[in-house]
Symmetry: C3
């Protein structure tokens, strides 16, 4: 619980209205009550602002007049909301120390102040930094390093030789360091290529549930500082993902794909192997990237949704496109004779 | 083991043939033997019916004449098959009670008759209903509720504040309540938005293996009664999925997508953020939904599979489509002069 | 550590240069040092060969002249690299025997020489072959069989009645034998069809992290010998995947899809239900297969990536394609009058 005045001080932002106004939670403009703080980050919701029951709203100074409640003033209300959300974090606290049901190898190095949950397994040669939280049923293989303040949520798995920086958050069922999909065709079928590289993850990286980052074949797979990966994302062996790049759910990178910094890949998009994408590229939902991109900007593939009956007609014509194009050229030629 | 007569009575259906005929299992028309029950749900398999070795077949009354075996008569043989399959359920029974290797917080509330498997972890403030089965290595966070008769299979993870109704089945490696993918762009990179909402799942919901349902940012993520989600499905924060909707494998909903009741989303389809889909909408396989749908019906995107060599020609022309269209308009104009 | 001469002997390959040259690791041409072995598998990297610092390079005899280092000669350098990689396997060894924190039912049959990791759970009626490695936190249900030399990595889950052949590798969070997505529409919503079949996996199969292979409805789901499945792959109930077929990340097969032998499915591709694909078919990335394929070859769908602004114009025209085609036909007709 904070007063508006306290929030204003903590965030170094001005306010208008009653600084004593108590704030007990955060809510949307539509559902907020008098004890709640809400925010307006997009002027298309101005009508919601005017109707809100929130006690306090984070608004841009331009919108103070329209706000029926007390205001916390911010040039970037959405960013301020992010910062306030962290003051109201309601995730349960975990106890410091090694739970008696954890299985920690005597040759693992667990810093004071780390928390190792029940049934977690930590193998030899692994270093767990200060304040790290290893959740229940997590497996951490040999020779891993987890930087201070990072959190590995219940059920996640790290194979051997996976290094994670500081202040990272790895969600449940994520798998870091599984074998890359490397096989050579041999006379009797696929022959396994042992994946000898590791995984190197920078600081302040978040990795979603059921996301997989494979170990490298020879060199490491590398995720730079500040990268955020959503759920069910596939990062194949020897990929490199640049600083502050965001990859949304169900997207996938094939082997040795290199993604620049400050890129975004929307949900369900994919990148084929050995492709390089430069900085500041934005891949739209379900887009397939099959060649390198050297110019920043937004890229798309696919077609837009249509009623299936109409879509079928277009789809049939798509298969005839080359013929259609040639027929058009013939018509043009005859017309111009 | 049942006799045909017993099945007939249990299911309140008529039969033709010998009511004493013993049925020891269920099989397809093609593989069934004299002790098996099979079913015909689609008349395109009539030739299989005529050749079947099954002791009993569930058939529509119209097909009794064509059936070489005893018959269980049903207006809806597929539905009858579903009900019979549950009489022949061969999944192993689990022992009631808390396994000694489970780690249950003393402040968790476990109903009599629940089963908590080995190495499962149940945190404080959680309520486990009567007859609930918590599999091995499952993690249930703080303040969860699992309604009676629900089943959480080995390895699944529930973060804190996840409520599940009655008679649900959650498959292995499913993750309910991981953080939504909420970040605000800040001066030095992404800033985390704490995800303060929970997950609310209705009754009779089935959630597949490796499927992820994120917790809400402020409000809850909501899955209504009777929803079925297949494997590897992504449900982002604050989505709402309406009653009896079915979502097949590898499909994904981005944040705040709202899906109506009685919809189907086929495999690999996707819905972008903040889109609303009305009731009774059917999204075809691998379709990308980027805008709201207000009319019931079937929707598609993409193109149909072609031999790659031919596809490349069409794909090249797709990139020229606007020019092609303009050239056609020019030709038409000249022709009409 | 091997000398070049030792490798030459082990692999039955000739070499050129100093047989005493010690090899302590494997690296790429670009990063290799004097103690490393590298390989040239594609002549487009010839310039890297010429500049390499590797002590030894695996090369085709045609490229010996261009190689600045000692050479291991191979008609198939990539395959030789695969075999060498296995000599340099750096994965940690696991101790033989049942870890005291494992929970093994007395009616499970564990062969001598198997390794059962901490917190693994093995149910009754299951047979674990010689040399099998069951990782930490793995769950193996009732009546499973794991053939000798197979490895189940930490956190993977096998439901009951899943048989795995010899020398398989199942990665973390894989789920084998979860219920197929089988429901019949009933008067009040979906009615569950109990999935009574199992899963049958051949020898030398590799299954990636977070990949799901569902159990069959009546018959088994079948994965043949030598199949390799990448991460986050969905194999639905009653699919059959033929020998030596490779399926890359994020691909999915719907129910009862049948894939031939020696096929490849690239990342993100999908196959709808009851489709049959013959041997030697290659499905390109993110391709949607909605009908059976009876001719070997390469198949594609979708469109190629474009800058979004240009893509939008093409996408709008795609919706008009049938009209465009009809207008073209009208123009042709008028022109030919």
């Amino acid at each position: 619980m904070y007063t508006l005045g306290e929030l204003s001080e903590k965030l170094n932002l001005e306010f208008s209205g009653d600084g004593q106004c108590p704030i007990t939670g955060i809510a949307t403009l539509e559902t907020a009550g008098p004890g709640d703080l809400a925010f307006l980050s997009n002027s298309k919701y101005l009508s919601q602002l005017e109707a809100t029951g929130a006690g306090v709203v984070i608004v841009h100074p331009d919108h103070v007049q329209a706000c029926p409640s007390h205001c916390l003033l911010s040039d970037n209300p959405y960013l301020t909301f992010a910062r306030v959300s962290r003051l109201f974090d309601n995730a349960p606290k975990v106890p410091v120390g090694v739970h008696p049901a954890a299985v920690v190898d005597p040759e693992a190095n667990i810093s004071d102040g780390a928390s190792i949950g029940p049934n977690a397994v930590v193998e030899a040669g692994t270093e767990i930094g200060a304040g790290v939280v290893i959740g229940a049923n997590v497996y951490i293989g040999h020779g891993c390093k987890i930087g201070q303040g990072s959190r590995i949520n219940p059920g996640a798995v790290l194979y051997h030789d996976v290094h994670i920086g500081e202040l990272c958050k790895i969600h449940s069922q994520a798998v870091l360091g599984a074998d890359g999909f490397g096989f050579a065709p041999g006379p009797d079928g696929w022959e396994k290529i042992c994946q000898l590289g590791g995984v190197r993850i920078g600081n302040s990286v978040e990795i979603g549930a059921c996301t997989s980052v494979d170990r490298g074949a020879l060199d490491h797979t590398v995720i730079a500082d500040g990268v955020i990966l959503d759920n069910l994302v596939q990062i194949a062996h020897n990929c490199r993902v640049g600083k502050n790049t965001a990859i949304a759910g169900c997207a996938g990178l094939a082997g040795s794909a290199i993604i620049g910094a400050n890129c975004t890949m929307a949900g369900g998009s994919g990148v084929t192997g050995h492709v390089e994408i430069c900085d500041d590229v934005h891949i739209k939902a379900m887009t397939m990237v099959t060649k390198s991109i050297t110019e920043p900007g937004s890229y798309s593939s696919g077609t837009q949704m249509m009623p299936t009956r109409e879509w079928r007609r277009s789809a049939v014509r798509f298969a005839q496109l080359d013929a259609i194009s040639r027929r058009l050229a013939a018509v043009e030629k005859q017309q111009n004779n």
